[in-house]
């Protein structure tokens, strides 16, 4: 197989596998956050801020995979 093709496959695999975990994680976070808001609507703003922070940390994992994919693609 030529190098270009291998590179394209590696890029696709790195981002495709890399987003699975963070996807599940963000789903769980949002589900629990909404559940918490449903139980205690007065605390909505506090829950939302913390939820977004936690989502930003989880999303960072997907971003690492994206960085690898971008490095593979553009170098």
């Amino acid at each position: 197989m030529p190098d270009e093709g291998l590179k394209a496959i590696a890029t696709a695999i790195s981002i495709a596998v890399g987003v699975v975990g963070p996807g599940i994680g963000i789903g769980l976070l949002a589900a629990k956050g909404l559940e918490a808001i449903g139980r205690n609507p007065e605390a909505e703003s506090k829950i939302r801020t913390n939820m977004i922070l936690a989502i930003a940390f989880t999303e960072a994992l997907a971003i690492y995979a994206l960085v690898i994919a971008l490095i593979l693609k553009f170098t």
Binding site: A56, A60, I63, L66, I71
Partner: protein, 244 residues
């Protein structure tokens, strides 16, 4: 009709050389942001008054809000570390936002049939985020040493028993991995945003980029908050005695 290729470059391009030191396009943008921030603070500082103007109200709101936010993490150590942390926050947020100004990444020169943009968001350059992360982690070590003395080093080099020795090595590795995760979190988010905006503008130049610009404003704010919040947590961890 052949479409022009999308210009995406992983590393910042060198624009010119200053005394033999290469000056890249992201450095130029960072300097402009620094000039903006310094003049903003000088203007506000010279016009401080008991009856505040709009500018003073806005900045007091920013500093006051962040002070109460970080007070929850740092508690009584807040006054020692707050200047450093808020500098990180304000600097990172404005450097992030500078990347979505019109003209950044689109104004440039063509050299050897290759387009080189004159400006590029500062944090979309790996050197910049690596420098910020290294600075933060080294200051954390310094703060730990200063407040706990030589006891702080016991966290890394403990020869009382073999298990503690291995844990010390793991602690050392985790400090290095903190630098790496700091670096790539900020760089990845901002650079991915740049790529996203470029691709969207390429696919559909009218109207479509507007929601994504809003998203990038939000991401820039969240990443600045995450960076400074994590720094605050590391400071709080470093200056307190480890309890087993």
């Amino acid at each position: 009709m052949k479409m022009p290729p999308i210009h995406i470059s992983l590393k910042a391009e060198n624009i010119f050389y200053l005394l033999g030191i290469p000056v890249s396009n992201s450095m130029i943008t960072t300097w402009l942001v620094m000039v903006f921030l310094i003049s903003l603070s000088l203007i506000t500082y010279t016009r401080l008054s008991l009856i505040p103007g709009y500018l003073q109200i806005a900045l007091e709101l920013l500093v006051g809000g962040l002070y109460s936010l970080f007070k929850e993490i740092l508690e009584e150590k807040i006054d020692k570390f707050f200047p450093f942390i808020i500098t990180l926050f304000i600097f990172i947020i404005f450097v992030n936002w500078s990347g979505i100004l019109p003209g950044i990444g689109t104004i440039g020169v063509t050299e050897h049939k290759e387009f080189i943009p004159l400006f590029r968001a500062g944090t979309a350059d790996l050197n910049m985020t690596l420098a910020l992360a290294t600075l933060t982690i080294f200051y954390v070590q310094y703060a730990g040493l200063q407040s706990l003395g030589i006891v702080y080093l016991k966290k890394f080099f403990d020869i009382t028993n073999p298990l503690n020795f291995i844990i010390g090595i793991l602690e050392l590795i985790s400090e290095i991995s903190r630098i790496i995760s700091f670096t790539f979190r900020l760089f990845g988010n901002i650079f991915a945003g740049e790529v996203l905006l470029t691709v969207i503008a390429f696919l559909m130049p009218v109207l479509a980029p507007i929601p994504f610009l809003g998203l990038e404003l939000f991401v820039g704010f969240i990443q600045a908050l995450v960076f400074s919040m994590l720094a605050a947590v590391f400071f709080a961890l470093a200056v307190t005695h480890a309890e087993y």
